[in-house]
């Protein structure tokens, strides 16, 4: 019984939150990695693109709520998400047309493009703060829990509860659908194949008649969709605050690099590696160990390896380890 109680506590505080957070990071890292694979630069504006998409989603969620439209147990934000994706896609295509295309034609060095993306980050960030402000925004509605801790306890008779928030369940399911769609798209469709060809060898792809402008456009649209979905799910699960989205940049980049920049499969693996490490290292294990260890070995202290204030230190440390021992990442991304 003690073992089960410990397991449930572990699932409740480590596994479920880690899974949801990992899915959000994986979606974010997929966007970064796609941009890196096709456009060949690290897009620093990605965190703020997520914030932009989430902002549009929130605004339309409020509008729908005002009209009295809702999805019952599901959050209204799902209804607003496609609009958010469309708006963000338009926005990034506009930035590509106005800003990035010039440098692409010039074949500018990738560091220049990174600095340019910094400029885009400023502008996006400014727009988001101007429109929605800097404060926390909560836009979740619908059912709060799939299973609440109390129900779980009465159901199983255990003394520990397992709560699964609907936002967490939604995150994992959405991430599965999106990733399945993305891989189908990249592997099976003509456009997806041309994208992979372009990423592998640009010159050869151009020689075989692939239209580079189209590849770039599709990449931006996919990145915008991934960013908006990742941002929207993160906002539903926690809350929306522009600065938090900027801070997400570090774990997202760490995920993409751990997996190997340019490798979609790596981005997903990296997202979960980072998320689970972050949650495990910052969780206080006292309760779980109390159940699992014999009475006389049970710890007195919290057994928290690192305070939650240092959660970016975790992504950073993993990043450093990967840079030291495995610079191309788990899945052999691009090494240039």
């Amino acid at each position: 019984m003690d073992f089960l109680n410990g397991l449930i506590t572990f699932l409740n505080f480590v596994f479920v939150p880690g899974l949801a957070y990992g899915s959000q990071l994986a979606l974010g890292a997929l966007g970064v990695t796609l941009i890196y694979g096709i456009l060949r630069f690290s897009n620093f504006a990605h965190g703020d693109t997520m914030a932009f998409g989430t902002m549009v989603t929130i605004l339309f969620t409020w509008l729908f709520q005002g009209w009295g439209i809702n999805l019952g147990v599901l959050p209204t934000a799902l209804l607003a998400l496609p609009i958010g994706i469309a708006a963000t896609a338009l926005f990034v295509l506009l930035t590509d047309r106005v800003v990035y295309r010039f440098y692409r034609r010039q074949k500018a060095a990738s560091t220049i493009l990174v600095i340019v993306s910094l400029g885009v980050m400023f502008v996006t960030n400014g727009i988001v703060r101007l429109i929605i402000g800097v404060d926390d925004q909560n836009f979740a509605d619908g059912g709060r829990f799939v299973i609440s801790a109390g129900d779980f306890k009465t159901m199983t008779g255990l003394s520990e509860g397992l709560a699964i928030k609907s936002s967490q369940a939604l995150t994992v399911i959405t991430a599965l659908i999106v990733v399945a769609f993305l891989f189908w798209f990249l592997q099976k469709t003509r456009t997806g194949k041309s994208m992979r060809a372009f990423s592998d060898n640009e010159d050869l792809a151009l020689l075989s008649g692939i239209n580079p402008d189209r590849v770039v456009q599709v990449t931006w649209i996919l990145a915008a969709a991934l960013a908006t979905i990742a941002g929207g799910l993160y906002g539903l699960d926690k809350s929306f605050k522009p600065y938090t989205y900027y801070l997400l940049l570090l774990p997202i980049f760490a995920s993409a690099i751990v997996g190997g920049l340019g490798s979609p499969l790596g981005a997903i693996a990296g997202g979960y590696v980072i998320a689970f490490s972050e949650v495990t290292v910052t969780y206080a294990w006292k309760k779980v160990l109390g159940y699992w260890l014999p009475e006389n070995l049970a710890p007195d202290s919290l057994v928290q390896l690192l305070s939650t204030d240092y959660k970016f230190a975790v992504s950073f440390t993993i990043l450093i380890i990967v840079l030291l021992f495995l610079p191309t990442g788990l899945f052999k991304g691009k090494s240039v």
């Binding site: 560091t111 990174v114 885009v120 402000g133 570090l250 240092y310 990043l319 840079l323």
Partner: protein, 432 residues
């Protein structure tokens, strides 16, 4: 040359106009912040302009400089130190030794399972021992008079001494980061520095025993020649001089103090310019530029590119550290809550790029111009927005617009950066 002089004269005019139209106090405090930013911009310019290294952790290095001021010049807290100072020191030494030992194991042992296992054992054992020594010591320090102290205290040495120490701390951090991230893909340095900056500031916010964290450490002494306004107002010589001029002693005393800071910072800036101009025009500088322009060719000529990059990265970060220390000295307090990447990292980048990367004078011009814009908008922006919205009815929209004035500068800054990069990528004063 005349064009450059004209540009500097134009910026000087901005400050004079601020002085006459607004107040000299405001103009001088903006000037001081601009001079500090100029020193930071010089550091970034060394890294980016000379060597093409992309450092997004300016905030972290500046914060380390600030930390040095606290450690060197803050008044001592004997009780706090006695409670746990040696214990913390011991824990830190143990932690460093564990890392050193792990590196040694990695370098000396034969690659294989045994090496990995030994290294992990050393690291985990070191971490446990570190926490075992560190936690009670830090707790003891923090529980010593938490309302007024709760930190280990400083050495109560002169503030000027803290500036080179700030440079050394920043250089140390830069060495560690550079060792790891240089020599790999260029984007990695950007991401690694972004991360280390956030971590440094997070440590300063949360580790109360170092510098009281977000409770802020106030009352740091001023650097050597600068007097306190209150003392100045009671000095007979000063009062005689002021009454001779027929001006208000209170305002004048604060102007005199700010002027002295400006001179002090100007001296440091001049020293940094002199040194880096000398370096840039020496064989070393030519080598750095050769590496930046064509790494492969430089490597073929037998230059150790990664090593040179590490040198210039450390030098540039040390300069940023000095500026960070000077800033904390001037403010007389360390407020970890105010370090944000926008103000301390990205603003400096805009200064360097707008001014002209690769050119020291360009960086200074950029710092003065962009710094002035940034700070003047802070003081004048809400007023202007208030005037624009004066005719509107009170309500949510009006408050939203007035509040949003400060976000306008983000947008403006981004647009300026993009425009300069697109239409004048060499900046206002291009590299020769």
């Amino acid at each position: 040359m005349t064009r450059n002089l004209g540009l500097f004269a134009g910026v000087a005019l901005l400050f004079i106009l601020t002085g006459t139209l607004q107040s000299w106090n405001l103009s001088l405090s903006i000037l001081n912040m601009c001079l500090l930013s100029a020193v930071m911009a010089m550091g970034v310019n060394m890294q980016w302009g000379y060597a093409g290294l992309f450092n997004t952790g300016v905030m972290g290095f500046a914060a380390l400089g600030g930390l040095a001021v606290v450690l060197i010049s803050a008044p001592a807290v004997p009780a706090g130190w006695a409670a746990g100072g040696p214990g913390i020191l011991l824990a830190l030494v143990v932690g460093a030794l564990a890392i050193g030992l792990a590196v040694l194991v990695y370098k000396r042992m034969v690659p294989g399972r045994l090496r990995t296992a030994t290294m992990l054992a050393v690291l985990i054992g070191g971490f446990v021992l570190y926490r075992y020594l560190f936690d009670p010591a830090a707790m003891a320090v923090e529980s010593n008079d938490p309302a007024a102290a709760g930190n280990i205290g400083g050495l109560a040495l002169p503030s000027l001494l803290a500036w080179p120490v700030g440079a050394a701390l920043a250089a140390l951090a830069a060495w560690a980061i550079g060792k790891i991230a240089l020599g790999l893909r260029s984007d990695y340095l950007a991401i690694a520095t972004l991360g280390i900056a956030e971590i440094i500031v997070a440590v300063m916010r949360n580790e109360d025993w170092i510098a009281r964290g977000v409770k802020n450490l106030t009352g740091l002494p001023r650097p050597w020649p600068v007097p306190y306004e209150v003392d100045l107002q009671q000095t007979p010589a000063f009062l005689n001089w002021v009454s001779g001029l027929g001006v208000d002693p209170v305002t004048t005393s604060s102007i005199v103090v700010k002027l002295m800071y400006a001179v002090l910072f100007g001296l440091v800036l001049a020293l940094v310019i002199w040194a880096s101009e000398r370096a840039l025009n020496s064989p070393w500088g030519r080598m750095m530029r050769a590496i930046r322009d064509n790494e492969v060719a430089a490597e073929a000529m037998g230059k150790d590119v990664t090593r040179r990059h590490l040198h210039v990265f450390i030098l540039g970060s040390a300069v940023i550290g000095i500026a960070g220390a000077m800033m904390t000295s001037m403010e007389g307090q360390l407020t970890p809550g105010t370090y944000n990447p926008l103000r301390f990292t990205f603003l400096i980048w805009v200064m360097v790029i707008v001014g002209g990367s690769g050119n020291n004078w360009g960086s200074i011009l950029g710092a003065l111009l962009i710094g002035w814009l940034w700070l003047i908008v802070e003081t004048v922006g809400p007023g202007v927005m208030g005037m624009i919205t004066a005719g509107m009815a009170d309500g949510a929209l009006k408050t939203h617009l007035v509040d949003s004035a400060q976000h306008m500068r983000l947008l403006t800054l981004g647009v300026i950066l993009l425009l300069v990069l697109r239409f004048s990528p060499r900046g206002l004063i291009p590299e020769k």
